[in-house]
Amino acid sequence: MTRLKKKAWVEMAATGILFVLILIQSFLRLVQVNAQGIHLVFIMLFVGVPTGVIMYHIEYRRFRQCDEREKKIICKAFLISAFVFIFYLILFSLSAFFLIGGSGNIPVVFMPTMVLVGVFLGQCTQSFIILIECAKDDNE
């Protein structure tokens, strides 16, 4: 298995486990206890910012180790996945807007669910594109 294929599978599995099993469950638990307040923002920032910075550094170090062809494939996959994420958010929010109406209300729990599912969808797209590009290279 090439480095790129391994990266695609590992990222998809990690995102799946992290988002679907852990984060959505955590948000549902927060809904159950109706947690709210500025302290919750600080807790999330305290956990989220260092995790994000560490993940970014790991990803950047791995990216620098890739060759030109791999870098090109990763960039292309990232851009397409970002557009899928944006398109999904637009589609979701406008559909909800036209179904419920502008003056209606929506439970706030829909927001994290919408964003997290979008991120998962984007990650899946990125992994699929990398796998497809790898398969094309193998065929050539």
Partner: protein, 215 residues
């Protein structure tokens, strides 16, 4: 004003303005006219948007030979984004005010969006066949880099906004429906502005390098 010297822009502008002005008495004086006033306003806004987009494109075509392609593209995209935001805000506000909802509205909007996307795709493809590619490898890399950073900023913005709203309102709270698309479009505007600023920064660096080499 320079823009009004263009005949197409003039015609489209007056049609759009007439539709919007005509919709005002229909909306406020004749409630029996149903959603006609709303559709006229949306159509008017759309016509104005098309007029401005066409004018911006024709201005971009009249470029000077020494003008930087990247700079032109950055400005063009940024101005389109601003124009889209202004008219989008106008139409969106109207849709919220009139509280349109229901499956027929969703299907109608879906059909309109799909036809717009297909139309845009066909026009782009036709243009792509006639116009030679205007960017070299380095410019394409810069464009890709700016787009990547813009997309990353948008993702970060979406996650932070979601987290803050969820935490402040509380898990069982409710948010007004209009606020979600507004947050989304503000994020898109933010990402577009970041992309524009990064491109302009690279263009400025290019200018310095060229001057340095000449010296």
């Amino acid at each position: 004003m320079n823009w009004f010297k263009n005949k197409t822009f003039r015609i489209l502008f007056f049609i759009g303005a007439a539709l919007i002005i005509g919709a005002i008495p229909l909306t406020f004086s004749f409630p029996a006219s149903g959603k006609l006033g709303l559709f006229m306003t949306i159509a008017g806004g759309g016509v104005l948007g098309i007029a401005i987009s066409l004018r911006l494109q024709s201005r971009a075509k009249d470029k000077k030979p020494h003008e930087n392609n990247l700079k032109r593209k950055a400005w063009k995209e940024f101005l389109s984004l601003i124009g889209f935001s202004v008219f989008g805000f106008f139409i969106y506000g109207l849709l919220t005010y009139t509280d349109v909802k229901g499956m027929p509205m969703l299907i109608g909007m879906g059909v309109m969006l799909v036809s717009m996307v297909i139309g845009g795709f066909v026009v782009k493809r036709q243009k792509g066949e006639t116009v030679t590619p205007e960017f070299d490898e380095r410019e394409l890399t810069l464009l890709q880099r700016a787009a990547s950073i813009g997309a990353t900023c948008f993702m970060l913005y979406a996650v932070i906004i979601m987290m803050v709203m969820f935490s402040l309102i509380g898990g069982r709270g409710m948010v007004p429906m209009w606020s979600i698309p507004v947050a989304l479009f503000v994020g898109l505007l933010f990402a577009g502005t970041v992309q524009f600023l990064i491109l302009m920064h690279h263009i400025k660096d290019d200018g310095k390098t060229i001057i340095g080499e000449a010296v």
